[in-house]
Amino acid sequence: MPLLLQVQDLHVAYTSRAGTKHPALEGVSFDARAGEILGVLGESGSGKSTLASAPLRLLPGNAEIQKGAVLFEGQDLLRAEPRVLEGIRGARIALIFQEPWLALHPTIRIGEQISDVLAAHESGGRQALRQKTLQLLAEVFPSDVARISDSYAHQLSGGQQQRVLIAQAIACGPSLIVADEPTASLDPTTQRDILQLFQTLREKLNLSVILITHNPALLSGLADRVLVLYAGKVAEVGPTDRVLRFPQHPYTRRLMESMPAGLDESAKARKSRLPVIPGEAPNLGTLVKGCRFESRCTDRMDRCTQRDPAPVVVGDAHAVSCFKYED
């Protein structure tokens, strides 16, 4: 499959009010391929939201892209002119933010907000825009499209708002969508519907999707490949089944073990102690030599504090950044 997006050695840091620099992403490299769903598995502090905003340079004011390149359609987005970038945003690469109720303008009608996206990239009279808006809404809503177009954000439920964001994202026919926790705080049924919508749109429009989430269960059965992000670095990347069912990185392994089987649990396992990863994930750390998971890792070795592990191929398209596999 042709490569759509290539992120190479991305380093992003935030400057705190006191003036100190905190790294959010350190040397992150990965590819997104045409027509695939890439799942990015990351918890709080992993840098996933930074990863979502960085390629389109939509980071907040105190963030700095220190190093790296993001190649897309033959150019490096990190060095592109602002005009060029504006042309790519929404039209070639679309971003879907967390918390849909915050991502929509409170006092502009939904239909207009979608038309604005169209107007930013395409020409056309108001009638044409309105037509297209209704068509887009019809792609994501089963019914009642006209009423939704005339509504305001606060009149819609969480699931409906999320669908509107998706409609905005696909409006100009992008080839890549980056969705940051698109189903957080939604009902299970709504959650499943939204994920199915991604699936449908992927097939229908030949989209690539980068789906960022902290819940591995969402990616199973949906994503083609999974990338595990920990403390700003790529811990593991590979086909979904391999990474989720036979994880190689100690972090991924412990993470999968800590998930309750719940529905398939035997009576004995119920209310038992779940194996947990001791401590908490670091939030925007300071520069540290060596592996970032070391302090919580049960397989730690001496060299884990001395150097940063480089990715090692352990299987078919499956790479792990851990010294256990280095020899």
Partner: protein, 269 residues
Amino acid sequence: MERLLIVEKLEKRYASTQLLGTRKEVKALQDVSFSIARGSTLALVGESASGKSTLAYCVACLERLTSGRIIFDGNEITAFDEKQLREVRPQIQLVFQDPARSLNPRYSASEIVSEPLLVRGRLDKREREDRARSLFAQVGIPQEKARQRVAEFSGGERQRLAIARALSLEPKLLILDEPLSALDCSVQAQIANLLIELQASLGLTYLFITHDLAMAGHLSDEIAVMERGRVVELDAADKILQAPGKEATRRLIAATPRMGAADHPPQVV
């Protein structure tokens, strides 16, 4: 009493004024009956707007019922007056979903945890501080963080703080309204473990509200499925998950994302 909490035919209706002054009645809860055995956990699952949170507030004596009875620890608290209720409330405590919003951002951790004691006027300052310290130890918050504010706590730590506050008055029943939903997966496991430990060591009874069926299956003895203000199914956790009877339950189970679903064929590269 074997059953700490018994709810009988609880009904809660709201009157809302529509346009032109007409009043519409919303039946938030209808014909709800269930009970929880002492020291056990009942999970209340359902979609949003199924009435779960309203039920929690009714049981916590924060809302008055339209009709029905609640019997707590042998007493019919629905017949209590305000003075008697004041004695009952400390025994039923709430833990909310979003600790960032339920904890006062201007207070230090120590102040947050001892606030209920202060309000009740029970212990003096030294005793309150001691109690705060022991609560921190129980929920796993390092003592050094006692003077820090909520903003400096991580998500998991905040929820521990919320639990510590709930425990300060030594309640018998803890109502947890989606306590894990705002947390990362690995942190959910930590807090789930904490809740199980606390139940074993303090003999707590839990009413656990969630829409995460997997976690409900892991943490609870019994599960009650709610839909549109009614309890449609109530049974032991095993039975509900393995052999669901009602359509609503089946739908929830189908919607829960599961691991190990090998129904997705890997993409051919």
